[in-house]
Amino acid sequence: MVLVATPSLSRNLSSVTQQPMWAAVWQRFRRDRTALFGVAVLTLIILGVLVGPMIYTVPTDLIDFSMASQPPSGQHPFGTNDLGQDQLARMLFGGRISLAVGVAAMLVAISLGSVIGAIAGFYGGLLDLLLMRFTDLFLALPQLPVLLLVLYLFREPVGAIAGAEAGTFLLVVLVIGILNWMSVARLVRASFLSLRERTFVRAVRAMGARPWRIMWLHLMPNALSPVIVAATLAIGTAILTESTLSFLGLGFPPDVPTWGRMLYDAQNYIETAPHMAIFPGLAIFLTVLSINYIGDGLRDALDPQTNIRVT
């Protein structure tokens, strides 16, 4: 640790030591067959919703009652819904929103959790105590009922300002994020508590680094592993939550075909048109399953016990 004397030297050192670490992580991750399966399926789904609508150019909102509730056929690979709209086109378009909600809500949760956890762990004392009480309070809130309550009360007013679609997106992302940062805060706090006593932190502090610089450049990279795993799993949770809200009829408006919304619409036609439920349901299931497998694989690959750590 005496080596870490000048900033430039420390930067060189970290660039040298970080490369083999990520290579080792990839080495371990590559051996996990289920995680690779997850990556493959998820890549396929992401490519599908990003590129799909450009190749498969059937309109999502073309109403044709003569083709209502048709089972899958050559013309409509995933069949049609009760209005005769093409289900595949709707799923490809709706998937964009489902995935976007997942990623955006994860970013909200991770940023909130990291900042709160970092401040609590770095400063300790009364601030830590207060922030952790605050975290406990959020953990004690009943998630789904509170989500429903907030959407019920704020959906229309926010929609009136930002537009129904953008308003719902904003609201859903923010509320899911705000209700899911607690585990990240605890993980970051725990890492920071043990890291801040290390010699290298004392060295940087002695060099006169400001608290934010220490947290961001020196502590955060070392606390990253559990956050990456939590972030991955948070995307899955957020997608599932959004689908649940839409399924209960409280998510996006009817003309925005998220996967959950499509299941909500399918409920009433379950006897005559089961394909309306099966395809969007499978899409949610496969997305969440592959994200969970990737998260699990990352957890094993990033396991600190077998990690090469230079700190």
Partner: protein, 319 residues
């Protein structure tokens, strides 16, 4: 123990207060007038409207409204439903038994299934049995309950015609035939919940058991010649139970959330269905009351979890 219990209950009082404040504030700060319908009605004059506002206490400042609301809440007075004009507490008590019976049965079955499966999986780690069990559990936690419910309806009601897919709440169990009918209609909703919950619990038990199995005391027990089953049950399981029991208690609120969705899929008239219906009918007092009831459940089960932890692990009391 009594001292710990007392302290722990004292801690949950501020938590409950804080939660009630958060929920009240969400409601109070929400844009929009709860009396919007009356406001838009041209036949109601300005003075009548003011009188109605005053009768609901809406003319008072927010902190006074909170204290009044909380005080009423402590007396079990949850207000009146906008929609049915009956007391909210009555509506909830009417729905609660249905939800509790579905959740209770499902959770009981899940625990009975998850324990043997989790233990076997941990002991025979990396065997084919373990691999298939973990895979099934993984699929179980990734399957959204609303999709499982719809799949069950498609397969077992529509295709095979085994079970009815609308739950008949007027059914009274008074003879063998009605008992069978009750069993048949409860089968699918309970299975959906059991599938999800068993998967979650099995993963808890497996990881907790695995952690214990590599400890030195297990090797000692085997080394002194104890039979395998005895080591598993009396030594490993007992220690593995400590985190598991806590997790089971902490997980109970999730079951209620799962039940909320299942009730919606199978049209079971429970608490969750009441919540969703009230949201669509803009019945604010009922929505608020049910959210509070769910919050209460979370806090109570957190308390139970800590109590159980203290019973199982004597070291906790020394804190």
């Amino acid at each position: 123990m009594p001292q710990y219990l007392f302290k722990r209950i004292l801690i949950s009082v501020p938590t409950l207060l804080a939660i009630s404040l958060v929920i009240f504030l969400i409601l109070a700060l929400a844009p929009g007038d709860p009396l919007a319908e009356i406001a838009n009605n041209p036949s109601i004059s300005e003075t009548v409207r003011e009188n109605i506002r005053r009768s609901y206490g809406l003319d008072q400042p927010i902190h006074i409204r909170y204290v009044k609301w909380l005080w009423a809440l402590l007396h079990g007075d949850l207000g009146y439903s906008f929609n049915s004009r009956s007391p909210v507490i009555g509506l909830i008590l009417q729905r609660l038994p249905t939800t509790l019976s579905v959740v209770g049965v499902a959770y009981g079955i899940s625990i009975l299934l998850a324990f043997p499966l989790g233990i076997i999986s941990a002991i025979r780690r990396h065997s084919i049995l373990d691999q298939s069990l973990t895979t099934v559990a993984f699929i179980g936690i990734s399957l959204p309950p609303f999709f499982t419910g719809l799949l069950f309806i498609i397969v077992f009601s529509v295709q095979l015609g085994w079970f009815p897919f609308i739950y008949d709440s007027t059914l009274r169990v008074n003879d063998w035939a009605s008992f069978i009918a009750q069993m048949r209609q409860s089968m699918m909703p309970i299975t959906v919940l059991v599938l999800f919950q068993t998967a979650v619990l099995m993963r808890f038990i497996r990881s907790s058991m695995t952690e214990q199995l590599s400890q030195n005391y297990v090797r000692t027990a085997y080394a002194k010649g104890l039979p395998g089953l005895l080591v598993t049950i009396r030594h490993v399981l007992r220690n593995a139970l400590i985190p598991v029991v806590t997790l089971i208690a902490l997980d109970v609120p999730t079951v209620f959330t799962g039940a909320l969705i299942t009730e919606q899929v199978f049209r079971i008239p429970g608490m969750g269905a009441l919540l969703i219906d009230s949201i669509f009918r803009n019945d604010t007092p009922v929505v608020l009351a049910i959210t509070i009831v769910y919050a209460l459940l979370v806090v109570v089960f957190n308390l139970v979890a800590d109590m159980l932890y203290a019973v199982l692990d004597p070291r906790v009391q020394l804190r």
